[in-house]
Amino acid sequence: QQPVQSPQAVILREGEDAVINCSSSKALYSVHWYRQKHGEAPVFLMILLKGGEQMRHEKISASFNEKKQQSSLYLTASQLSYSGTYFCGTVTTDSWGKLQFGAGTQVVVTP
C-alpha cells in the first residue's frame, strides 16, 4: 500500500523551515527519502530503519515513529538548492524488498 505524504506542496523563503510527513497504514521496516529535481532522476537523501536512529543529510533531518508508522522530513534553514519534489518510500514488514513511493511533496524555496 502506497504511503501518504503531506503536504502536497510548500513554498518557503530562503532560511525558513518546513516539515514533510509520510504515513503508512501498515507496519514499516524502513523509510527512504529522495529528492527529485525537474527532469532528473530521484536522488537518495537518507534511510530510516526499524529500531534505528534519526538521520541527517546536511541541514535536512528525518525521524521515524515506528508505533505510529510515520516518518517526518525536516528542512531546516532552507536553501535555494532544496527546491524539488520530495518522495518518501516505504518497505512494510509484509512486503520485503518492495519499496513503494508516496505521491511526493513539491518544495519551492524562493530568495
Partner: protein, 112 residues
C-alpha cells in the same frame, strides 16, 4: 564509476510494437529495480530482483517482463506497447534492502 546506465534516453513506439529498455550497473549491487513515473506522480514499482536469476513482480507488472542473467544487467521488456505505457522509466540498484537506491537517468517512452 558510471553508476546506473539506462538506454535509450528517449523512444517513440507505435501501438503493438515491442522493445527492451536496457539497464546496467557497475557498483556490484545485488538488488535492482524498475519503476515507472507518470507526469506529476510518484514512482510505481514494476519488477525487482535480489540477485542474478531471481526476479519478482512489483505493483504494476502487467505488460512487462524482466530477466536477470548477470549481476550487472536488468533489462525490461515491453510487449505489445499500449498508450498507457507512456511514461518515464527508471532503473535503480542498491547494495541490499537496507541501503539507499541509486537511480539511472531514465528512459522517456511515448507510445502513439
Amino acid at each position: 564509476n558510471a553508476g546506473v546506465t539506462q538506454t535509450p534516453k528517449f523512444r517513440i513506439l507505435k501501438i503493438g510494437q515491442s522493445m527492451t529498455l536496457q539497464c546496467t550497473q557497475d557498483m556490484n549491487h545485488n538488488y535492482m529495480y524498475w519503476y515507472r513515473q507518470d507526469p506529476g506522480m510518484g514512482l510505481k514499482l514494476i519488477y525487482y530482483s535480489v540477485g542474478a536469476g531471481i526476479t519478482d513482480k512489483g505493483e504494476v507488472p502487467n505488460g512487462y517482463n524482466v530477466s536477470r542473467s548477470t549481476t550487472e544487467d536488468f533489462p525490461l521488456r515491453l510487449e505489445l506497447a499500449a498508450p498507457s505505457q507512456t511514461s518515464v522509466y527508471f532503473c535503480a540498484s542498491s547494495y541490499r534492502d537496507s541501503y539507499g537506491y541509486t537511480f539511472g537517468s531514465g528512459t522517456r517512452l511515448t507510445v502513439v
